[in-house]
């Protein structure tokens, strides 16, 4: 049962038939692991907190820099040089005191990541590098935890949901799509340009997919597909992903 406070606060979300009171209650008991508190994590954590997600665990080892403020909209000028996870936790608490938030101000090794993934209902990969993305994919696959992945650079965004809870063997994993551990330097976020609303859109897509799964019990978006966003044409394109029979993770 929702409390009166919850009902009043979330009424516009509860009024959506696919959510309703049951969905809101499921969401309020859900636990989301957000890895990376940059542009993706900023958008996703704000929307998931506002929506009344039960618990957010936010992971990052970085501090807020003035060059982050152009797109990492959760931070304020007075957060400069503050740990991103601490600043995120503070903003989330101010936005919605019903949400529990636990900051982890470091890079997790595999064992720590396995534990955090095990505790989570869904994982949002909001990280900014390929080795981390491959590790998150492997751990999510091994623990049957849904992975909601997004990335952005320049005007481009890439988004994919891997529902390891339901499809496991039949569909492709993240590594089937990207079987490499490093990218060229010029593709890393820190070294290249990125438009704020593009990374924000991708983070919002992650929050939206998480709300689908947590509140309605399933992803309505097509899973194991690559959704490509072009911020210049403002168009989405969808690509199928074939399962790689030689995949190091899922084959």
């Amino acid at each position: 049962m929702l409390t009166d406070n919850q009902f009043l606060r979330y009424q516009r979300q509860v009024a959506v038939p696919e959510i309703a009171e049951d969905g809101q209650e499921r969401l309020s008991k859900s636990h989301v692991l957000i890895i990376g508190c940059g542009g993706l994590g900023s958008a996703a954590s704000l929307y998931l907190a506002a929506a009344g997600t039960g618990k957010l665990v936010v992971v990052d080892d970085d501090e807020v820099d003035s060059s982050n403020l152009q797109r990492q909209v959760i931070y304020r000028e007075h957060d400069l040089q503050v740990a991103k996870t601490e600043a995120t936790a503070k903003q989330v608490a101010q936005l919605n005191s019903m949400v529990r938030v636990r900051p982890i101000n470091k890079r997790l090794d595999k064992t720590q990541l396995q534990l955090e993934v095990m505790l989570a209902d869904v994982v949002l990969d909001c990280s900014d590098n390929m080795p981390t993305r491959q590790l998150i994919n492997q751990v999510c696959f091994e623990s049957n935890t849904p992975l909601i992945s997004a990335a952005a650079t320049g005007w481009q965004g890439q988004f994919a949901v891997f529902d390891y809870q339901s499809f496991k063997q039949s569909k492709a994993c993240y590594r089937c799509l990207y079987p490499f551990d490093e990218l060229n330097n010029d593709q890393k976020c820190s070294a290249s340009g990125v438009i704020g609303p593009v990374v924000g859109m991708l983070g919002n897509y992650q929050a939206l997919a998480a709300i689908q799964k947590l509140a309605t019990g399933k992803f309505h978006v097509a899973t194991a597909k690559l959704h490509l966003f072009d911020g210049l044409k403002m168009q989405w394109q969808t690509m199928g992903i074939s399962k790689d029979k030689q995949c190091l993770v899922c084959a």
Partner: protein
């Protein structure tokens, strides 16, 4: 007769036929029975961090050498990104 037409004519008699495919929406002719790896080499397409899709389905890296293109296929390539 252009060199391409000569090549096509010869191809009919001795060599494999040419087929037309598109690479990122631009039409190109390639030998029929070409596989994706051969096309990547022929057009010197970038490989590092790159993903190739035929008719909007990504081809796994391990299948580049055994995936044969057909007449009219649409090949698209794009870079993986990791920024967050």
């Amino acid at each position: 007769m252009t060199s391409l037409e000569q090549h096509t004519t010869q191809a009919h008699s001795l060599e494999p036929d040419l087929i037309t495919i598109s690479i990122n929406d631009q039409a190109h002719q390639v030998a029929s029975e070409s596989n994706l790896q051969q096309i990547i080499r022929q057009f010197e397409l970038p490989e590092m961090g790159c993903v190739f899709a035929i008719n909007n389905t990504v081809v796994p890296h391990s299948e580049w050498g055994c995936t044969v293109l057909s007449q009219g296929d649409s090949l698209s390539l794009f870079q993986a990104i990791a920024g967050g």
